[in-house]
Amino acid sequence: MSVGLLIISHSAKIAEGVCELAAQMAADVVLVPAGGTDDGGIGTSFEKVQSGIEKADTGDGVLILTDLGSAVMTAESALEFLEDAQRNRVRMQPDVPLVEGAIAAAVAAQTGVTLEAVVQGAQSAQTGAPAGGTQGEAASAEPAIAPSGSAEQPAEPSESAIALSPEPAGGAGGVESASGDVELINPMGLHARPAAVTAQELTGMDADITINGVDAKSVMLLMTLGLKQGQTLHVAATGPDARKAVDFVTGQAADGFGEL
């Protein structure tokens, strides 16, 4: 199973809508809406939240996302009633935008990662801009395109727009790095679905990977790039699966993410 999500909103329609939207990208994740009061009004219901936690708890944990302040208080009250063992596998992330956080968390949960990683997924929606660290990685990844001296196979652009530059282990550590550029050819560019597919697949790989300087395992950060048709993806990765990761992204992009 995977981590389940509980979406608490003052409005039943908002909670259901957020679940519906997130389900598009995370078909196997348990997404439970808890919106509105018991009698269908605007507000939050302790009972809906309490039963929602039960429904969302697959045993692998529950992430609760909320809208306005009192939804947080209702959730905290419900948590107070849980047995310790269950409470320990329930997290709440109150300060992220509900829609973006839910989608990012659901995509992470779909990959079967731990509760902590799903929480991080939700947190990635908090930052509209890429974190400082990833900027630096992108900059330091630049030389990988033209590695100094060590490349036995010089970067050879293929017939398509793909340019790969495998860089063999930089010595003792055995750390692989790879990078490549590819032009987006699908009309919609790097919109939600391809961003989700990309982040989801890359999450399973053992590599730090960035696309145009942002963490490519974060669907939200990929979407914030707003890359359109005709623009270029610069992919850079380090780690054992670096090459595989770069190949995956460039392959998908060259294939128009299956949308052509």
Binding site: E47, S70, T74
Partner: protein, 225 residues
Amino acid sequence: MADTLNAAWAEAWLRNSAAVVAEHRKELIDLDRAIGDADHGENLDRGFSAVVQKLDESNPETPGACFKLAAMTLMSKVGGAAGPLFGTAYLRAGTTVGESTELDSPLLAQALAAARDGIVARGKAEVGDKTMIDAWTPAVDAATEAAEAGAGPADVLEAAAVAAQQGAESTDPLVARKGRASYLAERSAGHRDPGAASSALLLRAAADAAAAAGNGAGEAGASGA
């Protein structure tokens, strides 16, 4: 005057609360319309009506059981922020008094303090934020002081009720720093905080129930409302 208060008092308090909330429903709605979302009176009325219904269906035998019944019902039925806030207050009060059948002044003051602490834990508000805490904290201080001075439970609650009312009035000029009213910032000044106003009503209801129990109503305190 009685030295202790029992389940009949606790039940009378809750029934009195339902009555005063119903009576002041429109006033609370108007206060909340000025600086919030105009649902406080309606939400509390719905919540306490449900509490009365639950009391009719069951027969809680201790003050703690009455408080827990109120806690669960308010959390479920109120809908707005007052649900978890007052719900947590009653829950913590219920935990504090435990299985006791008779509450003396020190225990009563402790229960009020625990209720206030529960609201603070839930809402993260401090005195001066223009919230119900501005009514609760002076009430707890007054109750604690009265209990330490050896006052009986009815007088402890009377002191709390008077202080809560003054505390509610003190919110009029404040600028809200928590809750929905904080979105209004400076424009929230000049209006009484609805949560502080309803808190004062609830503590007044507690004092009135205790006074009725003390005036020879005794066990019949429960039938007061």
